[in-house]
Amino acid sequence: MWRIPQANEILLRRWDDEWVVYHVDSGSTYLLNALGGCVLQALRNGQVGIEDLSGQVASCLPADEPADRLQESIQESLRQFMRLHLVEACA
């Protein structure tokens, strides 16, 4: 399961296929592609497992992507977000 840390507030904006996230805790602003934006958008609603996350991201993305490749891409995004303290793994 993955989630946005409870103490972390993020602000998320979408324009076309690009997203921008503002991490309130660090004051950092990041440009995200559609996949990254959809991942964070899904996690804003609470903790989500990778299967559910894939489903939510698939419906958020503008183009269809094969399910196996999508899950791989989501996991890579989650690893990057974890390094930036934007998300965390939870039980």
Partner: protein
């Protein structure tokens, strides 16, 4: 009372004694200077600005000639509430130093606005924000537009009010540099341009007076309309190209002076500005062609 209501002698006397309280849009600055050339330049560049009661000032600034042991050349120094933020400059640069100092005051302290390094103009109630690095032709384009029906909000500092996202005006002089001085003299012979100051860190600079109407209307805010990144390019036709809004926000994050200090309020203000604006890259080489494109933009 306007600055122009004072004679040169009266203005110089005020400036070297109690000072003047000068209102530029939402900012009141208390200015003191014993330097007659600075008094003369203030009289010319701020003739239509209002002087206010000495009850309140956002900033207290002085430009003066410091005594510096070992410096044989005449110097000028800027102070803000007694603090000296810059090294002294040659005396001949004193008015340019005051202008840069006033920009510094606003950029670093006006935290009820998001302060973006960009020019801003208004037409039909909507503002165009022109962010650009030095050398892109931003000030030249800004100076040309204010002589073709656009109202000057600011040449250097776009002020996005946090309370409602509207753009406030400063209506201060436009800082022209190097070849742009001659270009604007030719383009708008009616333009009032002050003395040229040579050998500054930005080359030769001269200050273009804000049009009186822009000063008179300095309390009118404008709704966001467009964000246009201008770039002068030899021989290029005047052309607008849609630009990524997300990348425009990242530009503001890097180039707004107080984005970090404002935290989430800064992000929200920048995002709201972008939401409400068409975002474009703009290349041009000819000012008349550029003006025509902006006319079309204003008509949309």
């Amino acid at each position: 009372m306007k600055v122009a209501a004072l004679s040169n002698t009266q203005l110089a006397h005020r400036l070297r004694s109690e000072g003047i309280w000068l209102r530029t849009g939402p900012v009141v600055t208390h200015i003191q200077t014993p330097l007659p050339e600075v008094a003369e330049a203030i009289g010319q560049s701020y003739a239509h600005h209002e002087l206010t009661d000495p009850a309140w000032a956002d900033f207290h600034v002085r430009v003066y000639a410091p005594f510096l042991r070992g410096h044989w050349r005449a110097q000028s120094q800027f102070s803000f509430d007694g603090y000296i933020p810059f090294k002294p400059l040659p005396r001949a640069h004193a008015f340019a130093l005051l202008e840069w100092g006033l920009n510094w005051c606003v950029a670093n302290h006006l935290h009820n606005h998001l302060v973006i390094h960009a020019a801003a103009l208004e037409r039909g109630g909507r503002a165009v924000v022109l962010p650009a690095p030095p050398g892109s032709g931003k000030s030249t384009l800004c100076a040309a537009l204010i002589h073709r029906g656009w109202r000057l909000l600011s040449d250097e500092l776009s002020l996005v009010r946090l309370s409602d996202g509207r753009l406030s005006a400063l209506a201060r002089p436009v800082n022209l540099k190097n070849t742009s001085i001659g270009i604007i003299r030719n383009f708008a012979p009616e333009a009032v341009i002050g003395r040229e100051t040579h050998d500054t860190s930005k080359g030769t600079v001269a200050h273009l007076n804000p049009p009186p109407e822009s000063v008179i209307r300095q309390d009118e805010t404008a709704a966001p309309g467009w964000v246009v990144f201008p770039k002068w390019q030899a021989g290029a036709p005047a052309e607008l190209k849609a630009r990524s809004k997300a990348r425009t926000l990242l530009h503001f994050a890097d180039n707004a002076f107080n984005y970090s200090q404002l935290g989430s309020a800064g992000f929200r203000a920048a995002a709201a500005l972008i939401d409400a604006s068409g975002c474009y890259d703009f290349t041009y080489s000819n000012l008349d062609e550029a003006i025509a494109v902006f006319e079309q933009l204003a008509a949309t």
